[in-house]
């Protein structure tokens, strides 16, 4: 006997002790699918037969079952389940997770169960227990359907049990293997002419046969398929032809259709139910009255067969009339059907007397795109990967289709206003509304999307884990200091130095940086001058209008942020001035046109260092300089006096003299990066990456491209400076030598050093993506990082043992997150998806890593 059960169901095994439930379960289900009450008793009490532990055991069992059902996993309950009270919470559990409860009853003669139990030493209870269970089972049998079990299978003999096989059936809504491509069409409401016109716009050939029985066929272009979101009927002028077309296409397999609330109401009327003839039902009935009875019967059967919603294209797409929340997708229950037809309401009514809808889309976090209709909107707008394409054709709006996977909207205007809407769907506020629904929604991010341990999936580096304690630190910094999250589309990654040089008086040398890339199998690198200033990410819009349109920010036109997401300038006038200068530069070079954009995101270094880090320079660097200078000067003087009177302090004196000179070098080193900033002219901005413009990121362009794109708009500016660079082939000795000389020359002039990048922005190394950049700092710059005395050989030898693993791993994860966030942004994903990455970079930055690296 074949027992058919839905692929996602809660299977409740029912039978007295000794009826063979566990054996049956083991035979037909995965061990992990079965939750046994005995096992749970064992979990909580170390004794599978401890009846005193029953309550606790069932709490555990229900809890695990809930987790499994939430995850969409079939679950089997192996317990006697002979009492209605025991089954009730299971039925409720199945309902909570919108899956079907299935009863499989093992109804064996009591005697057989008694015999089996006697053979089991661990079962100590008397025969009366099984007698009682058998009686309870008998009583239960006729009520199982009423209790809510949609599928009840009774196996009444050992032979039947042996012969039984289980067949798991997909739910009707499961069309995951159908990959389309699809043309999803909004609420039609009897507007046949517009439907025909829209289908033709989409490339369908619509054929109306008028001879004989009237039929309407539509042949799709290629292997495309239409998906109707329901509400085919009511209000409009030609419901019968709409039905004819859709029924024909569904029958021909060229369309799918989900039911709308109007369709279902028509069905009830056609089936003789007492319904109110309102909201345009009268029109449908009058039009259908002119059709033969058989057509009405066919219509009723068609609507009756419609499935509440469809899950298509490997979960990529969900179509339902009024939308579908994530927890209900692909599930089947009365509630799911209700949601598909009517959505959710809050219980309140608005000023037009209509129920207030709960905005499920605002809460939506699911990975599947949800396309729906039901509520007329002036224009379809994306919100959290959902879109309502009911553009009110019957109310004189448009009939709209969404092409999937292209995400392209196609619409045709209504021929007339066939019905008057109960509430204007062109609300006056819409005309003046500055922000899109997504942008308005994104004004506020949800804490639940950032706190706790999080795993972010990135294209470059798989999953990046954000630990809870780092998220805690990031939340504080983000909340107290960061700029408006809508501006924060990218934070730069940290950068690792090369392996430590083991020769001479150097800690870092280009040879190791070149060796790293050679080792990764990357021959071509670009060495870029490392500017010693402060990192700044600039987002620049062409004007305020562009900022509003693309970033959803009103009355601003750009921002400069630090590597931790703070506004770079406290003085906003300064920021405005710098942005204006940059804007002019892009105007002058016609870069807007070149990039076909009205905004740009640039990765830059801003000089002088002291412009942003003034307090740090004073508190840390200048303080050490002042203390060491004064202390060593006095020590040297005193030692000289002592030496003069013959004290044996020669080696101490010599050491102190050397240290005094190192202290001076230390001061010289940081001084070079400081100068006073009074006006914009005192600032230098060196952009080195064009990160993104409208619809594009530039991680696929090599660094020569970036240098040349930047060079074009830096020309003629006194503030924007180009970055010096040299190409090096790390498999060519001479080329490497040239790179090393270039570095020596840079650093001898007081430069910080250079950054060695693989020629390609994203370069694959031996194991996954290679470091996007390796910094190689000059010996004098390192003095301010490692301290005045670091170059004394005894110190240097100790400093050489430094571990790079943590820093490299951090750089890689931050790079992956940064790229991911920006790519999400240019794909127009909701802000929380971008923010997740940006927040992640900030959180990772709080991981403990040697700050001198």
């Amino acid at each position: 006997m074949k027992l058919k059960i839905p692929e996602l169901s809660l299977v409740v095994l029912i039978g007295p002790s000794g009826s063979g439930k566990s054996t049956f379960g083991r035979k037909h289900f995965l061990p992990t699918e079965i939750l046994s009450s005995d096992f749970c008793r064992g979990l909580v009490s170390d004794d599978e037969n401890n009846q005193a532990a029953t309550n606790a055991a069932f709490e555990v069992l229900h809890y695990i079952a809930g987790k499994r059902l939430a995850a969409g996993k079939l679950t089997v309950i192996d317990a006697t389940n002979v009492q209605a009270e025991a089954r009730k919470p299971l039925v409720a559990l199945a309902r909570d997770y919108h899956c079907l409860p299935v009863a499989i009853v093992l109804d064996l003669p009591e005697r057989l169960c008694q015999d089996r139990n006697r053979g089991r030493s661990e079962r100590t209870f008397g025969p009366h227990v099984i007698r009682q269970q058998s009686q309870q089972l008998r009583k239960s049998l006729r009520n199982l359907q009423v209790e809510g079990f949609r599928h009840v299978h009774v196996l009444a003999s050992p032979e039947e049990i042996d012969a039984a096989t289980i067949e798991r059936e997909p739910l009707w809504n499961n069309r995951k293997s159908d990959h389309g491509p699809f043309d999803i069409i909004g609420d039609i409401h009897g507007c046949f002419d517009e439907t025909k016109a829209l289908l033709e716009r989409l490339g369908y050939v619509v054929d109306v046969t008028t001879t004989g029985e009237r039929t309407i066929a539509a042949k799709p272009p290629g292997n495309r398929k239409a998906v109707f979101v329901g509400d085919l009927v009511d209000r409009g002028p030609n419901t019968p032809d709409v039905l004819r077309l859709v029924m024909g296409m569904v029958e021909a397999g060229t369309a799918l259709c989900v039911p709308g609330n109007h369709d279902v109401k028509l069905l009830r009327k056609l089936r003789g139910k007492d319904v109110q003839i309102t909201h345009g039902l009268a029109e449908s009935l009058a039009q259908l009255d002119r059709e033969p009875a058989a057509f009405r019967e066919k219509t009723a059967a068609f609507i009756d067969d419609l499935v509440s919603h469809y899950v298509l294209d490997d979960n990529g797409l969900v179509v339902a009339h009024a939308g579908m929340k994530e927890t209900m997708q692909g599930r089947g229950s009365g509630k799911v059907r209700e949601f598909a037809l009517y959505g959710e309401t809050t219980g309140e009514t608005d000023e037009f007397g209509l129920p207030v809808r709960n905005n499920w889309a605002a809460e939506y976090r699911g990975p599947s795109m949800v396309v729906y209709g039901h509520t007329p909107v002036p224009a379809p707008e994306w919100l959290n990967n959902t879109i309502n394409i009911d553009t009110g054709c019957v109310f004189g709006g448009k009939l709209t289709a969404l092409r999937y996977p292209e995400k392209e909207l196609v619409s045709v205007p209504a021929g007339a206003m066939y019905a008057k809407p109960a509430k204007p769907f062109h609300p006056a506020e819409f005309q003046t509304q500055a922000l899109s629904p997504q942008q308005a929604h994104d004004d506020l991010l949800d804490l639940a999307d950032v706190i706790g341990k999080r795993i972010v999936t990135t294209r470059l580096h798989h999953n990046v884990t954000i630990r809870e304690e780092n998220a805690i630190a990031a939340l504080e910094v983000m909340s107290r200091f960061a700029a408006n999250p809508k501006w924060l589309i990218y934070l730069p990654p940290t950068m690792s130095p090369p392996e430590t040089s083991q020769e001479g008086s150097l800690l870092e040398h280009p040879a190791q940086a070149f060796a790293y890339f050679r080792h990764e199998g990357i021959p071509q690198v670009l060495c870029e001058e490392k500017h010693m200033g402060s990192r700044v990410v600039v987002v620049l819009c062409r004007n305020e209008d562009a900022a509003r349109r693309r970033f959803g920010i009103v009355s601003e036109s750009g921002i400069c942020v630090t590597r931790t997401g703070r506004r770079f300038f406290e003085d906003l006038a300064f920021e405005t001035e710098l942005l204006a200068h940059l804007r002019e530069a892009l105007d002058r070079s016609e870069s807007w046109k070149e990039f076909d954009t009205d905004w740009v995101c640039l990765d830059c270094e801003l000089m002088p260092w002291s412009a942003k880090a003034q307090e740090l320079v004073k508190r840390q660097y200048a303080a050490v300089g002042a203390a060491s200078g004064a202390a060593l000067r006095d020590s040297v003087e005193t030692l000289k006096t002592a030496a003069a009177r013959g004290a044996d302090v020669a080696s101490l004196l010599e050491r102190s003299v050397e240290r005094a000179s190192l202290a001076e070098k230390y001061v010289t080193a940081y001084r070079g990066y400081c100068w006073p900033v009074k006006t914009l002219a005192d600032i230098k901005l060196a952009p080195f990456h064009v990160l993104a413009t409208e619809g594009k990121t530039y991680f696929d362009k090599n660094h020569l491209w970036h240098m040349s794109a930047i060079s074009r708009f830096c020309k003629g500016s006194k503030i924007l400076i180009e970055t010096g660079f040299i190409e090096v082939n790390v498999t060519d000795e001479a080329s490497e030598q040239a790179g090393i000389r270039w570095w020596e020359e840079l650093t001898s002039r007081g430069g910080e050093g250079m950054v060695v990048k693989p020629l390609d922005f994203v370069a694959r190394g031996r194991r996954g993506v290679a470091q996007p950049a390796v910094k190689c700092r000059g010996p004098e710059y390192l003095r301010i990082i490692y301290g005045p005395d670091y170059s004394i050989p005894a110190n240097l030898s100790r400093l050489r043992s430094r571990g790079l693993g943590a820093k490299r791993s951090l750089a890689m994860r931050e790079f992956a997150l940064g790229v991911e966030g920006l790519e999400r942004f240019v794909r127009n994903e909701p802000l929380r998806r971008v923010h997740e990455c940006v927040f992640g970079v900030l959180a990772l930055e709080s991981e403990p890593v040697d700050p001198r690296l």
């Binding site: 804490l447 200091f481 740090l616 006095d634 004290a647 403990p848 700050p851």
Partner: protein, 465 residues
Amino acid sequence: MLLTITTSTFPATDLGFLLHKNPARAQSFDLSFGKAHVFYPEAAEQRCTAALLLEIDPIGLVRGKPGSGEGHSLDQYVNDRPYVASSFLSVAIAQIFGSALAGRSKERPELASKPLKLEATLSVIPCRGGEAFLRSLFEPLGYRVSVEPHSLDPTFPEWGDSVYFTLHLQGTRMLQELLSHLYVLVPVLDNSKHYWVGEDEVEKLLRHGEGWLAGHPEKDAIARRYLKHRRDLCRDALSRLVDDDLEELESTRENQARQEAGLEEKIRLHDHRMGAVVAVLREVGAKSVMDLGCGEGRLLRDLLADKTFERVLGMDVSHRALEFASDKLKLERMPDIQKARLQLIQGSLTYRDKRLEGFDAAALIEVVEHLDPGRLDAFERVLFEHAKPRFVVLTTPNSDYNVKFETLPAGQFRHKDHRFEWSRVDFRAWAERVASRAGYQVRILPVGPEDAVVGAPTQMAVFSR
């Protein structure tokens, strides 16, 4: 780091006997943090100078110490420690001049208890309280004090002076006294210690302060700073993110009470605020209350003390503040029945948060002024549109009142982390706009003694719906 001690009491070379260090020889000593050298730049009977030079090993300081992997801000690695007089000097004095510090001398026992004409020079000593504080420590002990301040960087005169001084002391004291004074006061000036402060530090302070500390006018400051606890490791994760803002953070955290309360102390404003807020919460009959920006939990404590508040939630963006609150409220030892009423969570006022829904009332005491004006919009929506408590009690400084604070320069905020301070007019306008937008009623009340012209120091808005 260099300390010189000079005497001109004849025969000055007896200094060698007192210090137990022969003026004819230069000596070196290994210490845990580096090397110490003792030598005599002059050694005549009229005048004799002993020098103690410390060579502190900066790399050794952070390497090879248990827990040294914990700290990760750059100032752990590059700092003034190798160059300045700090608790390292105290340790060196105790180890190298131990008997002199104890007032013993084998060869010249009578000299050890005799006042001598002494001079001492410290090069250099950090003093964050400035020259005035330096003088206030040494002058009451009978020294003539002269100080030489050092500029941060002569190339940038606009940066001003550093915290470092070369200090000269002159006075007629027993050598043992001079060394004790230095032993105690050098770490006090430096205001940090290189080692964990434990119980025995109190004993050391009492031992070395015997006979002079009790009568010192600055004895409270000396004791507090001498026993300063090592800086908390918890702060490190945060400091990595906000390196240039450490001081600011510190002031918002630990010194918040001090900085703001310093101004407001005389009028006990904080008590007024707590009283006023609790009074309003009682009056409106709130059963569940959240304290948003609860800080160290002062309001929470008051709320817990009153059983009519059945459910109390404290939220702060700072995890550290919550740890403080948890400590202060003795959460660990709180009876279950009381603990069940309280919840402490980290959260933010600029992110929507479901956990904040369903409360009767929210209190925000001196919180809103810590938000950037650009983020106020998000804050308003989080609180009034999503959390939607029936009542909101919000206090903020009244900037009109600032003229009454004599020590507060005009135009400056009461606290470094304040992003704005509202006048009474500004506050009313904001509160009324928010209320009308979100469907609340609002009334505004003064908190603290009211002045006829500038109003009360704090203003409070009570929103209800």
